[in-house]
């Protein structure tokens, strides 16, 4: 499997520091985007712990994955290990927050993808998203863990009066805020010519899916797509950090 990947990130307008973090390990096929939260510098700490833990866990798992393949099938092992890496980052951030009161409210979103054997395993928590682009079709792979989605899932009216916050701004699942976290896992078969996009809500709140789709169709080159999307988002005046990772599946064949 041959991949070409790029990332771009920009600090939100008027923010002291960028709390977004990305992982770009092209050789391993491992990518992630984390959007930290929790005041002062805590958000950036949470997103960095998450990114570092995922990388660390899956480096260790590399050899074990090939061994386990005999029993469980390679894709299953791959997805399970990715989800377990996210869960492990949850434990570490939660423990760290419990030991350091000044960052007890830290947490982070995680959207991570591990591409091997023509399969993209995607594990996510929060409102950072993964999309798959194929032949001008642009499909979202993740479902936001926001109150808006939780209400919609119940068929409840999202505009109910008692909500003081915008339900889009309220996350119902975050990495690092509770001892355990449920991780959503999606497996998407990928083909030559596909693109995988991971991004934070700093992008998706201000740039439409249509614009994202068109930018891939037109620009084709991962770095140019990333730069274009981040610039477009920054120009629209959002105050949130913006991060995007674009992976081009140059050749899906081979190990």
């Amino acid at each position: 499997m041959r991949l070409l990947a790029a990332a771009a990130t920009e600090k939100g307008l008027g923010r002291e520091r960028n709390e977004d973090v990305y992982v770009l390990h092209v050789a391993q096929g491992l990518f992630a985007v984390c959007d930290g939260m929790g005041g002062a510098s805590a958000g950036a700490i949470a997103s960095q712990i998450a990114a570092a833990t995922i990388v660390h866990e899956l480096q260790q798992a590399k050899t074990a994955a090939t061994a386990g393949a005999l029993h469980e099938g390679p894709h299953r092992t791959q997805s399970c290990r990715l989800a377990e890496a996210v869960r492990e980052s949850n434990r570490l951030i939660y423990t760290d927050g419990q030991q350091n009161p000044e960052r007890c409210e830290m947490g982070t979103t995680v959207v991570s993808a591990w591409l091997q054997h023509d399969i993209a395993s995607v594990a996510h928590v929060g409102d950072s998203r993964a999309y798959l682009w194929r032949d001008t079709h642009f499909q979202i792979l993740t479902q936001d863990h926001t109150l808006l989605e939780a209400l919609a899932g119940e068929g409840l009216d999202a505009s109910c009066e008692e909500l003081e916050e915008d339900p889009r701004d309220v996350l119902v699942r975050v990495v690092g805020r509770e001892p355990e976290v449920d991780v959503d896992v999606v497996e998407a078969p990928v083909r030559t010519g596909d693109y995988l996009v991971l991004c934070t809500d700093g992008l998706t709140r201000v740039v439409s899916d249509t614009t994202m789709n068109a930018s891939i169709s037109r620009l084709r080159e991962p770095q140019r797509i990333c730069d274009y999307l981040v610039q477009t988002a920054a120009r629209s005046g959002g105050t949130d950090d913006i991060t995007v990772v674009v992976v081009q599946i140059v050749d899906a064949a081979g190990a």
């Binding site: 939260m37 409840l156 009216d157 109910c160 009066e161 805020r177 959002g238």
Partner: protein, 270 residues
């Protein structure tokens, strides 16, 4: 220059100088923006007429109130309190210092909040219950016939049987609870029973609610006639009745002969 002080829960959110004419509403083109779903896009207008200010409701969905009186149009006096949705707006006619407008809430990007699992389940349960209540009010005739009861099998409480008439009934130590738990350390709300189109559903609040000795993996579960419900340290048998005793005045028949020996219409019933 007079000013408007926007408050929520007695907390001052913002202050605005009063122009000769200004509007209050949810949309960003108002002089006073209250970004809350209970507020209409253009909710009310305040303007100078002669030597005094007048408030006029702009056909808002939830109406405009001055000192708790519904108004369509009325003069404003010093310290009048407008109710716009759930926000209070105090009219201060004699303010001298220049008020500082609060930063606009929109766009709210980056102000992400987190609602923990327990709180968000509670919120969803409450909203579900409110929807059930709204539905039962809109179609009262057929639904009123469905009735159910809880019969205490084990544990200390104020009654032995409870009839479930309301769209939502709580088990807990709070005053609103139908099944009122007694004793220290009892949760305010251990569980709720919600009546919906499909029947009765129990929603767990404290993680300790069991139905037939099983916990509720989804946080809530449909109740069947004869189910054993354990919540807040009580063990109760859930039973369905054909008619409600409040309406028929006769002892109801239940599906499996689990009808209470003597039924007690709960005293908190209106």
């Amino acid at each position: 220059m007079p000013k408007l002080v926007v408050k929520f829960d007695e907390r001052v959110l913002a202050e605005y100088p009063v122009d000769s004419e200004m509007t209050i509403g949810r949309l960003p083109d108002n002089a006073v923006v209250i970004d809350n779903p209970a507020v209409s896009g253009h909710h009310a207008r305040i303007f100078l007429e002669g030597d005094h200010y007048v408030v006029e409701d702009l056909r808002s969905k939830n109406g405009t109130y001055v000192n708790e009186q519904h108004v369509v149009r009325g003069a404003l006096r010093h310290r009048d309190v407008l109710l716009i949705g759930k926000h209070k707006v105090v009219f201060d006619a004699v303010a001298t210092a220049e008020p500082v407008p609060a930063p606009r809430r929109t766009p709210a990007l980056g102000r992400t909040a987190y609602l923990n699992t327990r709180k968000h389940r509670e919120l969803l349960a409450r909203l579900r219950a409110e929807r059930a209540r709204a539905r039962s009010q809109s179609e009262p005739s057929a639904k009123a016939q469905a009735a159910a009861f809880l019969r205490v099998v084990d544990g200390q409480t104020d009654h032995q049987e409870y009839w479930i008439h309301n769209p939502v009934s709580f088990i807990g130590s709070s005053e609103e609870a139908l099944v009122r738990l007694q004793g220290w350390l009892k949760p305010r709300t251990a569980a709720a029973i919600v009546q919906n189109d499909a029947g009765f559903t129990v929603t767990d609040f404290d993680g300790r609610t069991l139905v037939n000795n099983q916990c509720l993996p989804d946080g809530s579960q449909q109740l069947k006639d004869g189910d054993m419900l354990e919540a807040g340290g009580l063990v109760m048998r859930f039973g369905l009745a054909v008619t409600s005793p409040a309406e028929s005045g006769t002892e109801p028949e239940s599906g499996q002969g689990t009808s209470p020996a003597s039924f007690t219409v709960n005293s908190r019933e209106p």
